[in-house]
Amino acid sequence: MSAPALELDHVTKRFGDFTAVRDLSFAHQAGRILGFLGPNGAGKTTTLRMMLGLMKPDEGSLRILGQNPGRVRDRIGYLPEERGLYKRMRADAVVAYLAQLKGLDRTTAYGRAHAMLNRFGLSQFARVRVEGLSKGMAQKVAFIATLAHDPEVLILDEPFSGLDPLNRQSFEGAIRNLARDGKTILFSTHTMEQAERLCDHLIILAHGNKVFDGTLSEAHRLLPRRARIGAEADLGFLRNLQGVASVAPPTPEQPCWDIALKEGADGGALLAACFEQRVALSHFDLSEPSLQDVFVSLAGREAQGPQ
């Protein structure tokens, strides 16, 4: 296996008495998409800033493409949550300006700017000032500015915020294509559905601590599969089945019995047991836990602190 594109080793960052990031370690391989998840104040932005070389860790070390972040500035593309563009500059000029700051010469930078604006359907807006563009168009221009110098690592902070569903879909496609081309992508988000659709690797932070580091399927395995069964009869007997972790009776909010299954348990055994007991069922569904459930569970547990 090749050396990781992103590597953090016991990184801690403090602001006075407040620890924003605590002992964070992870590694991420090139050509994959890393979802960086966490509630507000989890330490995501601070970690991103350290990866960009904008801040230095108080403890630990960061390696981007095997080097200190400050040394590979030109090989990283960064898209902040807000647009991060000069409003009074023209779309092509701002893309070319940032590309030149990343090391391209003027001619190449303008050439790339126009080619990419064209590819994203913005060629007729190339000479329009950023302040004259719609929010979606400005976001596209910012995305183009992030890519114009052909970076190997892309750090995207909430890249989909403020986008309509069509533009969101087009951005997702673009990000998948970039990963397919071998780019290393890290994006932070609050939107779990996007992380589920895009990411190969997930990291969840809460209160400065890493609470999860793994793949989507590993995340799903953190919580039990659940069955929801609608029935007039008492289903307490299901507790005696081998693969059942817990059985909760209906509540005014949840009119079905809620049965949590152990890892590898067969949902069909529940149905079979109900038929055996001649219980009349009005509803039955078996579901995987969503990333949202995992996130809420992990972030909530962290928020409560050690018991």
């Binding site: 400050g70 500035r73 949550e81 991060g84 000069y86 700051l101």
Partner: protein, 497 residues
């Protein structure tokens, strides 16, 4: 209406709880003190200007000018005495027992009758001793320093006209503190073809004595004419004009006459110093709002992912300096174009003036001062912008900085009076003011060691301040916290945190 009042209350509270509001409250009395006390202090520190008159007509004009200087000093003493009496004497008792003296002290004017009474009473000494019993306290009267003091010409009177310029140069730059020499040629009169009197001085920026001499000569010409031709005509109806030309031993022309070019050479640095202030005021807002906008829209993160904070700040400073220099060039070009369009004859004059300024060789030094001054203040404003999260935050820090920037304007009169005096010299060694005052003083040939020392100080200040403000900029430009307290800021600028 109720809702409007609710909004008003909220706005009022927001306004009065800002640090800027408190600082502006405190600043007002500081400004009053600076604006009221400093000019008086400068005036009191201005040395008496010693001068002499070489009168080749027989002495009547020298006598008239010397008398005018003496009158001027007496009027100043009488006015000071009058102000002193108001506070320290029992004026009611004085008016009752010595009405003639009380009239002298009550009248605030230059009229000859009051002055004559003042002299009759024995001048300052006489009035002080006569009013001794009316003292309310033990504060003694201190007479003001006279503005001008006439000295006898000594050997100068015997100098031939051919050697006069050389001797004048020696005397004005010599150790006898002679500020100016007035030369009245033979045949000087109010006639149209009269030869002109000459006013020799090495400080063309201070025309006070020149105007005084011109007025004294005019008065003497009027007195003579009235005595000779029309003793019954009221003096105001006859207005001769004394011909007096200014000369400077250092002037560029062969005969040392103070030409327009010499005046341009003298005033150009002052104008440039003023333009530097103007440019700083113009740039301050742009620099501040630029950084605040970059912070609030997170452009700064994108920029700092491309360049280092030092590169970012250096780029901003250089951009501001280049824009300011372009502004200067465009102003000069607009002046030339405007003159070309509306005053065609003036173009060659302006061209000549520019050439004479260039010929002094001061331009590189002036530009260095200009750029250093700009970098010093621009770096301060950038650091302020980096610490602020809003324009309101920035205002709290800009107020005191503006006081700092404005100070040279208040001190300008002191420099005009005495460009190489103690005040000017001390001000030149205050690091943040060195660019202004060094620039201003260059035409008056301050000692070479002072120029070298002040230049080194200015360059060192510029480099040090840009680096330290760069640290403040780098530390704050990514934070969204309120500006730190002054102590923390200074510690950070000194690199102690």
């Amino acid at each position: 209406m109720r809702r409007a009042l609710l909004v008003a209350r909220s706005e009022f509270l927001k306004y009065v709880t800002r640090r800027g509001f408190i600082i502006s409250l405190v600043m007002f009395p500081i400004w009053v003190v600076i604006g009221g006390v400093v000019p008086q202090w400068i005036e009191s520190k201005t040395p008496t200007r010693n001068f002499t008159v070489v009168d080749r007509t027989g002495g009547q004009y020298a006598f008239a000018i010397a008398k005018a200087a003496r009158d001027d000093a007496e009027i100043a003493e009488r006015d000071a005495l009058s102000a002193y009496a108001e506070t320290h004497l029992d004026m009611n008792a004085l008016r009752a027992r010595l009405p003639a003296i009380a009239v002298i002290l009550d009248t605030q004017s230059e009229d000859t009758e009051t002055l004559a009474q003042f002299r009759k009473a024995g001048g300052t000494q006489g009035v002080v001793s006569l009013t001794e019993p009316f003292h309310k306290d033990k504060v003694a009267f201190v007479p003001p320093r006279p503005r001008f003091h006439f000295l006898p010409p000594g050997n100068l009177a015997k100098t031939s006209e051919g050697m006069f310029a050389l001797t004048v140069n020696e005397r004005l730059s010599g150790s006898d503190s002679l500020y100016a020499i007035v030369s009245i040629p033979k045949g000087f009169s109010a006639a149209k073809d009269s030869p002109e009197a000459e006013f020799w001085s090495v400080n063309a920026s201070d025309p006070e004595l020149e105007h005084f001499v011109r007025r004294a000569l005019t008065e003497e010409l009027r007195r003579q004419a009235l005595a000779k031709y029309a003793p019954d005509v009221p003096p105001e109806t006859f207005k001769p004009n004394a011909k007096l030309r200014a000369f400077d031993p250092a002037a560029s022309s062969g005969d040392h006459e103070l030409s327009l070019a010499d005046q341009a050479r003298t005033y150009a640095p002052a104008v440039l110093a003023f333009l530097l202030l103007l440019t700083i005021f113009m740039n301050a807002g742009a620099l501040l709002s630029g950084v605040i906008e970059e912070k609030s829209s997170r452009i700064v993160e994108v920029m700092l992912s491309c360049v280092t904070p030092v590169e970012f700040m250096a780029g901003k400073l250089l951009g501001a300096a280049a824009a300011s220099l372009l502004t200067l060039i465009l102003w000069a070009a607009m002046l030339l174009i405007g003159a070309g369009l509306f005053l065609p004859g003036a173009v060659s004059n302006i061209g000549g003036l520019l050439t004479s300024i260039l010929a002094t060789g001061l331009l590189p030094m002036l530009l260095l001062c200009f750029v250093c001054g700009l970098l010093i203040y621009a770096s301060i404003f950038l650091a302020i912008g980096s610490m602020a999260t809003s324009i309101q935050d920035a205002q709290a820090l800009v107020g005191p900085t503006m006081i700092l920037v404005m100070a040279p304007l208040i001190m300008m009169p002191a420099l005009l009076h005495d460009p190489n005096g103690t005040i000017a010299t001390v001000l030149s060694w205050i690091p943040v003011y060195t660019p202004f005052f060094l620039m201003f003083r260059l035409p008056w040939h301050p000692p070479a060691a002072e120029i070298v020392g002040a230049t080194i100080l200015m360059l060192a200040t510029t480099v040090l301040l840009v680096i330290q403000m760069g640290r403040v900029f780098a530390a704050h430009v990514l934070t969204a916290e309120r500006p730190p307290r002054l102590g923390a800021l200074i510690r950070r600028a000194l690199g102690r945190t």
